[in-house]
């Protein structure tokens, strides 16, 4: 009999990811009567298991093993599939990160369950998961549902669901589990890991912070870059800023620069002339920050702040750091 929810908690270097708590929060919402089981894989991840309980898991299945120290597809899938088959949860959730998408898809395939991936809305209709997810370059939404019996798998788009908050008074049990694959049965070996803060390309970026004439000079891009860092965003620019030599041409957005279509476009000190609009008007949400309330960009934007960008940007960066962690 399938019941309750199972959440795969992702960790990197022993730190659980923020998105995992969003999955745990969703699990509690969908299975309010529980049981909600968290699965934690890694090495030396006892603390992560404890936090999972504080954040809403009734039970944590903790697989603490050298073979699981770093994420690898085959051992993680084998273990999660084993857990799902043993515990038969009604729903299995994880964040739709790179690893989350792989592990959940592989596990769903192994146990024969349906999978909805990268969803932004989620509900249960007659015991079956139904979800909404953006498709066609974010221009439409697709409503999808699980059919058939068995465990139902879903991965949640990071930042689309609220994270469950920790409750220091919560308690639960931590159960040790053994991974089914020994190291010599695992073909994939990680030779090296290089952590980098690589620059995100404009055309791939889901968030772009762009600066224009209002930025005033190359130094003006400083607060802009800090905001971009806090957002994990790429940095763009209007032609005015590029022509003035404040930022290289590869950052130019617009008619004679790049055409971008991010989820969020923040235009800072950009008036919004038609040639710039041509490069960014299909962004899902446009925010304009400009001290001139008559600037054309406000006609295109969804949200606007009229003010001095040198005050607004640091305030925004700080607010984001506080809220997103």
């Amino acid at each position: 009999m399938t019941q309750g929810a199972l959440v795969w908690i992702e960790q990197f270097n022993g730190q659980p990811t923020a998105a995992s708590w969003e999955a745990l929060g969703a699990a509690r919402t969908l299975a309010p009567d529980g049981p909600v089981i968290a699965a934690v894989f890694g090495q030396g991840v006892g603390d992560a298991a404890q936090e999972a309980i504080k954040r809403g898991a009734d039970t944590v299945l903790l697989a603490d093993d050298a073979t699981l120290a770093d994420y690898r597809f085959e051992p993680y899938v084998a273990l999660l599939a084993q857990i799902v088959e043993e515990h038969q949860p009604a729903i299995v959730l994880a964040a739709a990160t790179v690893a989350g998408r792989e592990v959940m898809a592989g596990t769903a395939a192994d146990v024969g369950g349906g999978l909805l991936t990268d969803v932004t809305e989620l509900s249960l209709e007659g015991g079956k998961l139904q979800a909404v997810r953006p498709v066609l370059g974010g221009k439409a939404l697709s409503v999808e549902a699980i059919v058939g019996d068995g465990s139902q798998f879903v991965t949640l788009r990071p930042r689309a669901f609220p994270a469950s908050e920790p409750d220091e008074n919560r308690s639960g049990e931590v159960v040790a589990v053994q991974p089914p694959l020994a190291e010599d049965a695992i073909a994939t070996k990680i030779e090296a890991t290089q952590e980098t803060g690589g620059a995100i390309s404009l055309t791939d970026a889901t968030i772009i912070v762009s600066g224009g004439r209002g930025v005033g000079g190359p130094d003006g891009f400083g607060p802009l870059r800090e905001l971009a860092d806090a957002l994990g965003a790429a940095v763009g620019a209007s032609r005015a800023a590029v022509d003035a030599g404040w930022i290289p041409y590869e950052h130019q957005v617009g008619q004679t620069g790049k055409v971008v279509a991010p989820d969020l476009y923040i235009a800072v000190g950009i008036s919004g002339a038609i040639q710039h609009q041509a490069g960014m008007r299909t962004a899902k949400v446009i925010v304009a920050i400009n001290k001139d309330p008559e600037a054309p960009i406000f006609k295109l934007a969804r949200y606007g702040i009229v003010g001095d960008l040198f005050e607004v940007l640091p305030a925004l960066t700080e607010a984001l750091r506080q809220r997103l962690g």
């Binding site: 004679t256 038609i274 040639q275």
Partner: protein, 403 residues
């Protein structure tokens, strides 16, 4: 009548479109603004096989037909005229002349490396004092045993400083009666002693293109490099124009399309009086004409290409297509600039470059005035086509595609 283009036509067209859009379009306005040639273009076109698109595989080419050449020129000029000019001189005026008039040895010596893109080709008929009246050209070719000694100066020669092989026309008999029978065609190479070349700057348009002059001072050319027979040069030159004009007209079709596409985009984005300007009737009129000119010009060019594929003489049909397409490309440029308003007057948008480029094509390869005389003379019966000693070969897929 089957107007459909084959899958090969469409795929080849798409490939050239993708290349031109991805690799050339992003920076071409910049090169144009600086009056400089992007040095990456010729090697890339060579690498991709574009420089030999309609030459038989056995002669180093890609084995596609003459219609494909038109489609390729349309896509190249849509991005910038300078790209299509390369095809006009390298392929239309020079390589196809070898296909039509060259001996087997000359095909091996020149056509093969040209089709493979390993050597670049150009065409030098025009002189400072001889444009519309090529018969009055002054370059001479004095025969001495197995060698011709060439002297003269050619001007407005595209790829003059880039070409390896140049098809030049000079008088072996400056006193011939009639005068045109004194002209002979030769292939010279730029590394021959006595050949100097230089660039011409300050053009109104095609500023990203290479245009220059070729000077010949006692250049020794072996008889093996004489194309066709002595006294046949004028007929060869005119037949070259059948192919050069074809590429110019095909390119102009692409230019009209560029004007149309940019105008449609702008008309949908720009708002006046509370709505996109595409809703205003006088703007609609401009768009409508550009559409009409594109449709008509394209069909005229494709008809000429079809005739070439059949191996049928197409001098008149190609000439009328070039005349119409180039004239309309100037008008399309004017309408596009006007439609863009003040932005059309700025180089921030490409339409002013289209207009400046279009103005060249109504001057070269037979000015529009010359084209009118040609059409009238055909219609009035003052001009008929006599068979040439060598005709442009009909497209034969088996022959073109086999090794």
């Amino acid at each position: 009548m089957d107007f459909t283009l084959s899958e090969e036509h469409l795929m080849a067209q798409q490939m050239v479109r993708d290349f031109a859009e991805k690799e050339i379009a992003p920076t071409i306005a910049d090169w144009d603004r600086r009056h400089e040639v992007n040095p990456d273009i010729l090697p890339r076109m060579a690498e991709l096989g574009i420089l030999g698109i309609n030459i038989p595989v056995r002669y180093g080419g890609q084995g596609f037909d003459y219609i494909t050449l038109a489609l390729v020129c349309e896509e190249l000029e849509r991005v910038d005229t300078s790209l299509r000019v390369i095809m006009s001189v390298h392929m239309g005026l020079n390589s196809m002349a070898l296909l039509q008039w060259g001996t087997e040895e000359q095909k091996q010596r020149f056509l093969v490396p040209q089709a493979q893109g390993e050597q670049i080709a150009a065409y030098a008929l025009t002189e400072p004092d001889a444009g519309s009246d090529p018969v009055s050209l002054r370059a001479t070719a004095r025969r001495e045993g197995d060698t011709y000694i060439l002297n003269g100066e050619k001007m407005w020669i595209s790829l003059a400083t880039k070409a390896d092989n140049i098809l030049v026309f000079a008088k072996t008999d400056p006193h011939a009666e009639p005068a045109h029978r004194g002209i002979t065609a030769f292939m010279i190479t730029r590394d021959m002693k006595g050949v100097t070349t230089g660039d011409i700057h300050g053009k109104l348009g095609v500023r990203a293109g290479s245009t220059g002059w070729v000077a010949m001072q006692d250049v020794e050319v072996p008889t093996e490099y004489r194309i066709g027979e002595e006294g046949e040069g004028f007929y060869i030159a005119m037949s070259c124009l059948d192919n050069g004009r074809y590429t110019v007209g095909a390119g102009a079709v692409g230019l009209i399309r560029a004007c149309l596409e940019e105008s449609v985009k702008y008309a949908n984005e720009r708002h006046t009086f509370g709505q996109p300007i595409g809703h205003h009737q006088l703007i609609k009129q401009k768009i409508a004409y550009m559409q009409q000119w594109y449709d008509a010009a394209r069909l005229l060019i494709l008809r000429a290409g079809w005739l070439k594929n059949q191996g049928q003489r197409n001098t008149r049909e190609t000439a009328v297509a070039k005349w119409f397409a180039t004239d309309m490309s100037v008008k399309a440029g004017l309408e596009a600039v006007q439609l863009h308003g003040a932005y059309g007057f700025s180089d921030e948008y490409p339409v002013e470059r289209y207009l400046r480029n279009a103005k060249g094509a109504v001057i070269y390869e037979g000015s529009s005035e010359i084209q009118q005389l040609i059409q009238a003379d055909y219609a009035l019966g003052y001009r008929t086509d006599r068979p040439l000693r060598c005709e442009l070969p009909a497209y034969d897929a088996d022959f073109w595609q086999s090794e």
